[in-house]
């Protein structure tokens, strides 16, 4: 299993052996092992759902393993609690923030190990210590502010400070950079390197291989709940890591298919036309801040960008799921700005939502029922649902998209992630539509399914439909798009022809370092 012993003679800080953990039917960890030496930055990589977060949450005491052994600094700590982990100096910054939004920064800092004086919370002491700590680390925070009022970057800082405040000597960071801007990422690297110099240990979960190469000393790769390789960063390459992740050779230099060579000028007849759209988000006003574009028949417009720059709000607004403050949208020349979700569908809009579990599927509905979600009015005679037509439709889609199990009456909940996504794709592609909004269409889906979905998207484009593609995966955007827009801070930082785009060109726009138009 583990191939490379970690090089130095430094003592082992973390050793997890043969960890098993399942959630009901899902085996998140199946004999995973990891070993991290003290004073190193260790990257943990793997596809979505590979079991990275689960393994680290076990280390952090959030879950007890079903089987396996855990050692920290040579001590057997199998199945410890979060409190014990924190006391032993293990701190974790979770993929989803673990901050209480209604409490202040200081209150979040002290939660769980509150200093008291005469039975009362000693808030003054906390504020003092936090200020000190924040000076020492260079992570600036305001102790008295409410967490709900913080930006994502600030919240991230609070999360890291929170673990340091508890005296963490082993810091686990679960995808900390997904929501950070480049300067914030640089700041984070600085802090992590500082910690490493002080002999502290860091485990970093990330999907970005360039980050792995830049910051880590050693790497563990996970696949399907197992750790399948342990590598030393200086001795490996991104291609080798990727191969380990997916289990076969992958062309990191993506093949583009037959990229169209349409020019950047607005085509005369566009299928989707968006003007000056302003949309408020849950965190901040104007999450989408005056975006306008159009997509021609037979064109894919890809939107690249760091998550949280307004992509979600933009798509939800276009789909009718979020009110717009101003601006207009039209599909095939028809203004749909004021239409309901249902009428938009009838007007020719189709939508693959980014979160299939929350939006794309009713998990307790059957495959057949999910395959008509959003089109239920088309499967109705009078007020009755037409069951025969629904089953017929299900059989056809199951066939066409190779959904497994091929049983219309199975609830969607019982399907694997890939097959769940196929239901969504099948449904959205089989309705009569002009414009397809595709958000993260291959997230959490295995490689075979990705190729299948990409092929369907290209077919659709070639059939003369317009596609708006949003993906956190830059490679995917590059692979599919005819034009690429980069979204940053709610605006389009750039719109480029595919020929002119590459990771190097797009990078600065994604980080807000460069602006165009």
């Amino acid at each position: 299993m583990s191939s490379v012993e970690s090089s130095a003679s430094a003592p082992i800080a973390i050793r997890l052996s043969d960890i098993y953990k399942s959630f009901g039917p899902v085996n998140a960890n199946r004999g995973a092992s990891i070993q991290v030496a003290r004073g190193e930055i260790h990257a943990l990589v793997g596809e979505n759902g590979a079991g990275k977060s689960t393994l680290m949450r076990i280390l952090g005491g959030m879950y007890a393993p079903d089987a396996g052994k855990m050692e920290v600094n040579g001590r057997d700590v199998t199945g410890w609690t979060t409190a014990e982990a924190i006391d032993a100096g293990v701190g974790m910054v979770h993929q989803h923030f673990m901050l209480v939004p209604t409490l202040t920064v200081a209150e979040n800092m002290m939660l769980g190990r509150e200093p008291t004086s005469r039975g009362q919370l000693d808030s003054a002491r906390v504020a003092r210590e936090v200020t000190e700590l924040s000076k020492r680390t260079g992570l600036a925070v305001h102790p008295q502010r409410k967490v709900a009022d913080l930006s994502v970057g600030e919240a991230q800082r609070v999360e890291i400070l929170k673990t340091l405040y508890r005296g963490a000597k082993i810091l686990i960071l679960d995808e900390p950079t997904a929501v950070l801007s480049p300067p914030e990422i640089d700041e984070l690297w600085r802090v992590l390197r500082g910690m490493r110099e002080r002999g502290e240990t860091i485990v970093l979960i990330t999907h970005k291989l360039d980050e792995v190469m830049e910051i880590s000393d050693t790497i563990t790769v996970m696949r399907h709940g197992q750790t399948i390789a342990q590598l030393t960063t200086t001795e490996t390459t991104p291609a080798a890591i990727a191969k380990a992740m997916v289990g076969r050779d992958v062309q990191l230099a993506t093949h583009y298919g037959e990229t169209s060579s349409r020019s950047l000028e607005l085509p005369s007849a566009s299928l989707l036309e968006v003007r000056d759209l302003v949309v408020d988000g849950p965190r901040r006003a104007s999450a989408v801040d005056g975006v306008g574009f159009s997509i021609a028949p037979g064109e894919i417009l890809g939107i690249a960008g760091v998550e949280g720059n307004g992509q979600t709000e933009l798509l939800e607004a276009l789909a009718g799921l979020r009110p717009v403050r101003s601006g207009s949208t039209s599909v095939a020349g028809r203004d749909i700005t004021a239409l309901s979700v249902k009428s938009r569908g009838d007007a020719g809009l189709s939508h693959i939502p980014e979160d299939r579990h929350a939006r794309g599927l009713v998990l307790d509905y059957t495959i057949a029922e999910n395959l008509i979600l959003g089109q239920q009015h088309r499967f109705t005679t009078g007020v009755r649902l037409d069951n025969d037509a629904i089953i017929d439709n299900a059989r056809r889609q199951i066939d066409a998209f190779d959904i497994r199990p091929a049983v219309p009456s199975v609830p969607a909940r019982a399907l694997s992630g890939g097959n769940q996504q196929k239901i969504v794709i099948a449904r959205e592609m089989s309705r009569g539509f002009q414009v397809l909004l595709a958000a993260q269409p291959t997230r959490g889906v295995d490689v075979g399914a990705i190729e299948f979905i990409h092929a369907r998207l290209r077919e659709t484009r070639n059939a003369g439909k317009a596609i708006l593609l949003v993906s956190a995966d830059l490679a995917e955007v590059l692979a599919l798009s005819d034009r690429i827009a980069v979204m940053y801070g709610g605006k389009f930082a750039a719109v480029l022809n595919r020929r002119d785009a590459s990771e190097e060109v797009l990078g600065p726009y994604m980080t807000g370092a460069e602006h165009a138009a």
Binding site: E84, L111, G112, R113
Partner: protein, 293 residues
């Protein structure tokens, strides 16, 4: 004089609300819906009267009430936390349970479906109606204290911080080692004890238990909790406000200004108004009613 009498009466009526609402605040702040308050109150009234009857001391009665309220609240918490039962369902069932059980045991112990015998209580003989008479009833002081202590507990102590975190973002609390379930059990027990003290006030002030003697006061306390936006002081103000409306109704009843039915509606109508956001949005604790994973 008139004003003082009005204040005294308002305070007397408000005391059970203050107890129960402070219990409602801590329960809901921890993430447990306070639908069982009415049951805890009635259970507290019953246990208080029975304990006082058999011991001959109202202080033992208070202990009995507190124990009864805690037991009921823990039954609720156990089903809601350990068994993940729906809190609304169990909350309502606890109320039904207490209504039936108090009458049953009343029959069993005293051969009556309606009233207990007279029990030792706090209201002193011939102490008058004014504020001075109130001062001699320790439960009045306890009731006022309950709110202040609750505010202190919630905002100034480690346990309070944990309660606030547990009701708002239990995973976050868990991730820093806060035993969320235990925090909630304690909050439930506290809310049961406090509400039971409110019930005990009724019973010991009356020197007896009467079936269904809480007459919906637990729901008014829940209304005050919400109207007070889950803050002890604001909830106390809501209690006083509701009590003042009742006092007004009692004082004006002879005059028949408005039918008493409409006065009875006031707290409930105001709660709806509060929930509809007309006087500032009432945003409940985010994890209210949800079991942790």
């Amino acid at each position: 004089m008139i004003v003082l009498a009005f204040l005294a009466q308002t305070l007397r009526i408000a005391i059970p609300y203050l107890f129960a609402a402070s219990g409602g605040v801590i329960s809901e702040r921890s993430g447990l819906i306070g639908l069982g308050l009415e049951g805890y109150m009635l259970g507290g009234a019953f246990c208080g009267a029975v304990a006082s009857y058999y011991s001959g001391s109202p202080w033992v009665g208070l202990l009995g009430a507190v124990a009864g309220g805690a037991a009921l609240a823990l039954l609720y918490a156990l089903t809601a936390i350990r068994f993940r039962a729906d809190q609304v369902v169990v909350g309502i069932a606890v109320n039904l349970l207490v209504t039936g059980a108090t009458r049953f045991f009343l029959r069993l112990a005293f051969h009556s479906s309606a009233n207990s015998p007279r029990v030792p209580g706090f209201g002193a003989e011939q102490s008058g109606t004014g504020l001075a008479s109130l001062a001699r009833n320790p439960l009045i002081w306890l009731g006022i204290l309950a709110i202040a202590v609750m505010a202190w507990l919630l905002y100034r102590t480690p346990y309070g911080l944990r309660v606030r975190a547990a009701g708002e973002h239990p995973e976050a609390a868990l991730s820093v080692g806060v035993p969320v379930d235990r925090v909630r059990y304690v909050a439930a027990a506290l809310s049961g004890m406090l509400a039971a003290l409110g019930g005990a006030y009724l019973a010991l002030d009356q020197h007896q238990f009467s079936a269904e003697m809480t007459a919906g006061r637990g729901f008014i306390a829940l209304a005050a909790t919400i109207f007070g936006r889950w803050d002890p002081f604001r909830a106390a103000l809501a209690c006083l406000f509701f009590a003042a409306a009742e006092t007004l109704q009692i004082q004006l009843q002879g005059a028949q200004v408005i039918p008493s039915q409409f006065v009875e509606m006031i707290p409930y109508a105001l709660t709806i108004v509060a929930l509809a956001g007309v006087v500032g949005r009432a945003v409940p604790p985010a994890a209210l009613g949800k079991a942790t994973e």
